[in-house]
Symmetry: C4
Subunit: 225 residues, 4 copies
């Protein structure tokens, strides 16, 4: 299962293997995602009742926060599942992967802010656009890691065929297109823009299912999650 | 210990094994649980003393928050222990397990909100019911993963016999029944409802002990924690 | 290195090994400690300047929070190092270890509250006593895990001799004695009580150094951290 | 790949190996870094609009927080990458490494406070100096671990040659020099001081690239990330 032919011979060989091991990159990434999806709930504040107010009416005021939480949770979950699928292909890291991954984590860290902004101002085109910019940034960094890693023979477990690389690229770029559409119509119709953002995970889910359906047995996209 | 007969032959075999490895699912899950049980304490605020107030009286005002923290900590601990027991049986993940597990994490992420709501409005039937709905959701997702995983031969280390599957299902469904009871009586008697929620971990503990007692040597339920 | 003679023969053998594997217990524990030591800093708030106030005077008002952070960080670090030393001896978990460890995490989770309370009311005997109670609870649960695990032959990698078990018990109980002393004098002299709490890590560090010095080569206490 | 010749013979050998295993030190460290880079974003608050204020003007008031977040994220990422590079060389921990690493985590935990202070008072020399002191502390502890570990034959996988040890020391000390410069000019020109802090990651990145360029094939600095 291990192919050591890529590694330079000599005293530095195993040292280089240890340096390029992805385990700590994954530990940091899983930690960041665990915190992000948990922090998102902190924006759902327990309401303080004013006089003559029932808990029921106060709770219904929490609804936008709850919808923001659900939306951001799904986006973060999609990103994590995509990250897991990608790194199941990656055997070694290099300087580029480590820093691209940190850049991806940077964009993921902005999700709680974007989600909180959207919960508070879900009818304001600017809030919808900033939320969209953060989502686009997560998709762009994910696409960049995919393109970077799958083209470098020394980083992956097994070389991917061209069709698999293209499918993976398409899967990373696809949400980007949806987000751009939602971004574009934000000032025309905030409601429609919000609906498009919310539809992205559903469309993404359908697209993966189609890819798995069409993919030949044993190919990389066959196991996209 | 490893049985590789399930895996399709050919070039995709080891790739599929890596894809189905549960380690990152566990890393994310343990991270989320670690954060949840730690975040719960953030609801216990250090009191600010007003004039003519002693710290003693201020501290006693913290008591509901503390009880809410204890209750939610125990619920989260029960969920984590149950998750650990279940995934000790699971050898491989698939798309269903990954997304069901994310759904389970989603319900667990709502616990701090439910606990904060209960601490603040522990005499309000609506707060008791919302807390109950969150607890029910955690139980339902746990039951769903158990039912999904134990019936798929390719996901578990060893096939479970029917009695073990039934015991595990019972153990997942049991708290659900208690929560539904507490939910039902919330408007009749908030105090009784709270007491039933608080009794769930005790009853659950007793039930596991009985299951371990009765289970034949070497069966799955013998090692329930 | 692995001794499998403890495990019951038959079809349940490897299942039992997986169930008793401590890795997820350690993952949860490391996660909780990582969050606790990081959350502690959140109590150091960036001051808001009122009119005619310089940042310098505002910053010096932050000092009690900073001292509380340092004290709680050291306590949490001591607990983590002790936990790591203990679990380096433990090969398998059982139901008792898992729940005792969750109880230990419960007490550790209270540290940020205790530290925030102490930072705010460091001259109030009640705050000093509550901080002391939390510290005692962390020591008691640690002692309980040590006593539980080291006496069960099936849980440890190698049986510990009586002298090592006693040294480890002493090391767990020792901070407890210091905390009780600080608790006792809290109402007589808050300053002295605070000084005793602060001295505990120093005394503990000296005690470990002495234990390592005296311990025979190859014994468990030789490698206490 | 494993060289066991360093370990003392006898019954304590494998126990000592387990005690000195760095895995839990790395788990705690990755957890702390994951939390730190995620907490930083919590300082970017969703603005509350006052009357006659547009979201656009309110968002632009968030800019200093955002810049503080970016700066602190990059510093934390640099520290984590440096930590990963260092611990790829380390095979075993000892008491010194464990406590030095906890000291390093202590300094990293102060980053969110420093970043929040800088975001709020970026024109105040005192805030710039406190931020600088925290950065210096992170560099000093990193340098201390490097100096401590690379000189002890029993802690590293393979002995490092003198040139590699010197390069690594230089790389750890270099940001320290930049931070001291920024600290020194804080009262003369806050803007220039801030610019120097912001330039540190860029200079550091260039320096690593040069080190990798010049380093002989197979040497430790060849794989600095």
């Amino acid at each position: 299962m291990r192919e050591d032919d890529e590694v330079t011979a000599g005293s530095g060989a195993t040292r280089e293997e240890r340096r390029r091991d992805p385990s700590r990159v994954l530990a940091l990434t899983d930690g960041v995602f665990a915190i992000i999806i948990t922090l998102l709930v902190l924006d759902i504040h327990v309401p303080e009742l004013s006089a003559h107010e029932t808990l029921q009416s106060a709770i219904s005021a929490v609804r936008p926060s709850f919808i923001g939480f659900v939306l951001a949770f799904i986006v973060a979950a999609m990103q994590w599942v995509g990250h897991r699928d990608l790194f199941a292909l990656i055997r070694y890291t290099d300087r580029g992967i480590v820093w691209l991954n940190l850049l991806a984590l940077f964009t993921v860290c902005l999700l709680p802010f974007g989600s909180a902004l959207l919960s508070r101002y879900y009818e304001d085109p600017l809030a919808l656009r900033l939320f969209g910019l953060i989502l686009m940034a997560t998709s762009i960094t994910r696409t960049a890691i995919w393109a970077y890693a799958t083209r470098r023979r020394s980083l992956v477990h097994e070389p991917l065929d061209r069709a698999s690389i293209r499918s993976g690229l398409g899967l990373s770029i696809f949400p980007l297109v949806v987000y751009i559409a939602a971004f574009a119509i934000a000032s025309v119709s905030p409601q429609a823009s919000l609906a498009v953002y919310a539809s992205a995970p559903v469309l993404y889910f359908i697209m993966i299912t189609l890819l798995r359906w069409r993919a030949p047995r044993g190919s990389a996209e066959r196991q996209f999650t």
